[in-house]
Structures are given as C-alpha cells and as structure tokens.
C-alpha cells in the first residue's frame, strides 16, 4: 500500500509535466491544425539555453527564465520562418516539415553541446518528505505541481477572459470572418505558436532533471508520452490534455513500479493504439471523429 501511494504521487508529478506538454500540442493543434512533431526538439533547445545561462551566471532562476523566453521566441520564429510557408493542402506536409525541424534542431544542439548526457540542475531537493513512515512528495514535486498549475490557470484565464484570448480563439475558429472583423489572424497564429512553445520549454525544464539528463534526444519519449496524453484527452480539448497527461503519468508510474521501467515505452505504445482504435477522437472529444 505504501508503494502504491508513492507510485501514485510520483505518477501525478510526472503526469503534470506530460499534461503541460500535451497542452502545448493541443494549443498548436487548435490554432493551426498542425501537430507539432518538433515540439520535443524545440523544448530541448530551450533547456540547453537554460543550461548555458545557468553555467554562465550560476543562477538556476535566470536559466529558467531564459528557457521560457527562448521557448517563446523559438515558437514565434518557427511559425514565421518555416510553418507559415508550408502548403497545408495535404496534412502530410506540415508533419514532414516538423520532422525536418527535429533533425535540424537536434543536429545543431549536437554540434554545439555534443551528445553526452549533461546533468541538469534542480532548484529544490528531490529527496522526498516522509510523513508518518510514508514516503510522499519531494519539494521538487511540489514545485512541478505549482509551476504546471500556474501555467494551466494562466492559459485558461488568457483564453477565457482576455481580449487577446478571444481574438486567438476567433482566428482559429473562423479565420476569414475574424480577418474581416479586423483581427490580425497571422499575428494570433504566431502568438499561439509562441505560447505553446513556451509551455513546452517549461515542461522540458521540469522533466529533464527527473530523467537521465540533458541530451538532444532527451524529449523523444516524453514527446510520445505527451502525444499519447493529448490523444487520450482528444487533441481538441485543453482540459482533456490535462486529464490525459495525469492519466498517462499514473499509468507509466505503475508500469515502471510494478513491471519494470524497461516496459514503459511499450506501455505508451499499447495505450496510444488502444485509445486510437477504440475512441479515435479521444475520451473527451465533443466533435465527431472523421468518418468515411
């Protein structure tokens, strides 16, 4: 039972990160109907920026802020320089271009930093508190929950309560009408990419210290897990992404705790296939799945 509680809390902490990353995928999907396969590589790039800044200044928090800024900037650049010019007539094209970005970003990171694992710093201790003989969360886990909670609430507030959020939703929902009403649709799209990439950078900053460390491929499996989370929740639904992220985190934690950590990638694949084959639109989808 102790072990179960520990695995559950650990899974929720891991799931919070997946939720943030899945949210980033959902943001871009809703804004541009593109699944950003380069999200993982972009997030790792931001994490490397944090690594360099922290190494130069000695401050974790400066590095943290730099990663968020780099994430926002990278998202905007990717949209303006690359994605905007892709012909979206076939859904294959943006996916292929995003994969090209993956190769390019990972190669550039490999050239600058080499491909050894670099230890990533944590701002708080990762050793867990014990409450009445029970091992529960570590201060770092609490930090993860707080950071993800703040980001999710901030995004919800932006989209639901602010004029910019309304414009972004309008631009995604009906680009032509929004343009006629004076909304800067292109600008809203860029803003959406920047926000999503920033959230992705945050997720990378949170998850990389809990894994093997910083590496150009560090987010590959996280990307697949987060994609699974987004699909579980339905690619169109932000609350679904959060719930899906937590569910995937729990599942992976149980699988690695009870069956061995080698099996977690396989568990992700099985879950992804099962959800797609049983409910292709995701468990929370409100829109009918495409039918032929």
């Amino acid at each position: 039972m102790d072990r179960f509680i520990f695995l559950t809390l650990d899974g929720l902490s891991r799931g919070a990160v997946y939720a943030a990353f899945a949210l980033a995928l959902v943001l871009i999907w809703r804004a541009a109907r593109v699944v950003n396969f380069a999200q993982g590589a972009m997030a790792v790039a931001a994490a490397y920026v944090a690594y360099s800044v922290t190494a130069a200044t000695g401050s974790y928090w400066l590095g943290f802020l730099a990663a968020l800024a780099a994430g926002l900037l990278l998202g905007a650049v990717v949209d303006r320089v690359v994605m905007r010019h892709v012909n979206h007539a076939s859904p294959l094209n943006p996916v292929i271009v995003a994969l090209g970005l993956v190769l390019l970003i990972q190669a550039v990171l490999g050239m600058i930093y080499g491909s050894q694992f670099r230890p990533a710093e944590v701002p708080f201790s990762r050793s867990a508190f014990t409450v009445g003989g029970l091992t529960v969360l570590s201060p770092y886990d609490l930090f993860v929950f707080a950071a993800v909670g703040v980001v999710v609430s901030a995004l919800a507030w932006i989209f639901a309560r602010t004029a910019v959020g309304l414009r972004m939703r309008a631009a995604a929902f009906a680009p032509e009408v929004s343009r006629l009403l004076g909304v800067n649709v292109g600008g809203m799209l860029t803003l959406g990419w920047a926000l999503a990439s920033g959230v992705g950078a945050l997720a990378a900053m949170l998850v990389i210290p809990t894994e093997l460390g910083l590496h150009p491929h560090a987010m590959d499996l996280v990307f697949v897990s987060a994609f699974t989370a987004a699909v579980v929740g339905g690619l169109d639904s932000p609350p679904g992404a959060v719930v899906g992220g937590l569910a995937v985190g729990l599942l992976l934690s149980y699988v690695s705790g009870y069956a061995g950590s080698d099996l977690t990638p396989l568990a992700v694949l099985v879950l992804l296939l099962a959800v797609l084959l049983v409910r292709p639109g995701g468990l929370f989808s409100t829109v009918a799945a495409r039918r032929v």
Binding site: V86, G100, D220, F227, L235, L266, V292
Partner: protein, 371 residues
C-alpha cells in the same frame, strides 16, 4: 462490403488506355519494359562492380539496401498517402530476423549458398507479419494520428531489443555470420563485390515487383484511395483493405532492406535503427519526390553519400578532435533536416519532379523548333 468488391475494375479494364488502339498489348509491354530496365541495370551493376574499388562496392551495396526500404516507403507515402515514421522499426525487424536465422543455421552447423536467401525470405515474412499488425491499425488512422502512432513504433521497437535482451542481446546486438562468396567465382573474388551482387540482385527484384505493382490495378487503387477516400469507396474500392495491402507491401521491402543492411554490416544493434533512421528514410522519399520510384534512387544515394561528404568537409577545417567529431556526426543530420524543410516548401515534387519538369520543358521546346 461484399457487394463493393464485385465492382472493382477487372484486370483488363482499359482505364487510362481508352481510345488507344493496341492497349492490351501495351500492358504486356509494361512488364517487358520493366524487365528490360532491370536487366540493363543489373548488367550495369555487374560492370560497375568490376570497375570500382572494394570500398565503393560496399557503399553501392548500402545504397541498394536503403533503396529497397525507401522505394517501399515512397509507394506507401507517395502513392497511398499514409505517412509512416515507423519504417526504421520495420527495418530493424528484418535485420533481427536475418540475424536470428543465420545464427540458428550456424549453431546447427548448416552451411551452403541457400542459407542467405532463406534467411532473407524469413526476414520478409516476419516483417510482413509485423507490418500487417501495424497496417491494420494504420488503416483506421489518418494524418497526425497515424504519424504519432508510427513515431511511437519507431521509438519503442528498438527499445524492445534492450527489454528482451535474452533474445536480442541488448545494446550490443547480434552478429550476423555470412558465407564467403561461392568458390565457383574464383578464390580471390573480393568480398565487397559479392556483397554488392547480393544486395543489388535483391533490390532489383524488389524494385521490379514494386514497379509492376504501381502500374497495375492495385497501383491505381492505391492512388485512388490517396486522392479521395469517399470517391474511391463509391467506385467500389475497399479502402481499408487497400491501405493494409499498401502497408504490408511497403513493410516487406523495408524488412528486406533492413535484412540486407544487417548482412552487409554483419551485425545488428538497436542503435542502427533509431528514430533518426526513420526520419532519414522519410527524407530520402521526400527529396526523391513523393511517390516516384526513380526518385527513391536519388534519396538512397544521398543517404550514403552525404555522411561521406560531410567527413570530407570536416577535414577541410582545422578543429580539435572533439569538435571535429561533433561536427562530422551532426552535419549530415543538419543538412538532411534543412533539405527536408526546403524541399517541402520550395519543390514538393522533389528531385525527380524537377528533372521530369525540366525534361518536359526541353522536349516541348525541341518539338516547337521542329514544327
């Protein structure tokens, strides 16, 4: 569903050849033409194998192995519209099957020239089985969902080699014992030339079958499903079955390609079949031109030539050994990634598309001048 099958166009339907007299004879002509091209290519390959040094022979053999997989992927993605990022994993399936088969034969003390074809065939069969499973799932998925699932396959399958290291020997992988060239070819027959012959023959056979498939009724149904699923269904094509068939065919060639790579390297390890390999295959397909078999040749050549080229480029600079190694290892990746993006934005038809546009333009000008 059973009613839809009866409406499928029969083999002799004059679709695409309507109004041309002698259309039935042209059909036989397609097969003959492909056979002739394959024979000429084979003879050319034998000639080249004598003309160039052993290392080039080995590189050409590697090109042939990649070509096999790239051609299969271009049929799937270009002609059937299914994007697969999992072909690296399918290649791994073929490679590991050939390794397990060859090891099993050698452990039992079997030798002979027939072992390798049997192992290669086993690799194709095993990959067809895996491809059928993935293909059945893929036929229900579209666009980004399919890409996501196949990406998961590409990342997960190599990890399985570590999970079940009792069979696959973990990160170290397996060695692939391969027979020396037959004695009938002479005692000093270079091993690399033999490798090129084996890989070239297998790939030419696969390409011949693919080329005929593409020009057949099945090729037309592939394209019909890609262009408009609803219209294809209304025309009596069983969409899901067509998609599974395309996936299985493409998996078979990927398995053969992976098996050939394992035979060439005489070893197989999960590191050789990472997600990057799947992305490389996709790049080769895109650069050659989606759905063009001839374009697959360009892509496969680039896959082998670019790392070589980047090695030469790195040697031009005076760098510290560590920096040189970092640059050399990543330069091809950066070039591949950039090409993928640029080609997709600027020339979605790829190299072969540009070439055939150029060819048509030249032809049109020549005709205009003559008339």
């Amino acid at each position: 569903m059973s009613a839809t099958r009866a409406v499928a166009p029969p083999q002799e339907s004059p679709v695409g050849a309507a109004g041309r007299p002698g259309a039935p004879r042209r059909r036989g002509g397609t097969l003959l033409r492909h056979l002739a091209v394959a024979v000429v290519a084979g003879l050319l390959l034998v000639g080249v194998s004598y003309a160039v040094e052993p290392f080039r022979n080995f590189q050409l053999a590697t090109v042939a192995a990649y070509l096999c997989a790239v051609a299969g992927l271009t049929v799937l993605t270009g002609l059937n519209g299914q994007l697969s990022l999992g072909h690296g994993a399918l290649m791994a399936t073929g490679a590991y099957t050939v390794a397990l088969c060859q090891n099993a034969f050698y452990d039992r003390g079997l030798t002979g020239g027939w072992l390798l074809p049997v192992s290669l065939a086993a690799a194709v069969v095993a990959t067809v089985a895996v491809g059928a499973v993935v293909g059945v799932a893929a036929a229900r998925l579209r666009g980004p969902y399919l890409a996501g699932v196949t990406l998961a396959v590409a990342i997960v399958v190599p990890a399985l080699a570590v999970t079940f290291d009792g069979v696959f020997n973990g990160e170290q992988g397996l060695s692939v014992p391969v027979e020396p060239p037959p004695l009938a070819l002479g005692p000093s027959f270079p091993y690399e030339r033999w490798q090129l012959w084996v890989a070239g023959a297998a790939t030419l056979l696969a390409l011949l079958l693919l080329a005929n498939l593409v020009r057949s009724r099945y090729g037309r149904t592939f394209r019909a499903v890609r262009d408009d699923e609803v219209a294809a269904r209304l025309a009596g094509i069983h969409v899901a079955r067509t998609q599974v068939l395309a996936f299985v065919v493409s998996a078979a060639t990927a398995g053969l390609g992976g098996a050939l790579l394992a035979v060439l390297a005489q070893s197989v390890s999960p590191g050789a079949f990472s997600m990057t390999l799947s992305l490389f295959l996709l790049m080769a397909v895109v650069i050659g031109g989606l759905g063009r078999l001839a374009g697959a040749v360009w892509g496969a050549v680039l896959l082998v030539a670019l790392p070589d080229l980047s090695h030469s480029v790195t040697e031009l600079f005076t760098l510290s050994p560590a920096a040189a190694q970092r640059l050399e290892g990543n330069l091809p990746l950066a070039i591949f990634g950039t090409t993928l993006i640029v080609v997709m934005i600027v020339a979605p038809g790829g190299v072969q598309g540009l070439l055939s546009r150029l060819g048509r333009a030249v032809l049109a000008r020549w005709r205009a001048r003559r008339s």
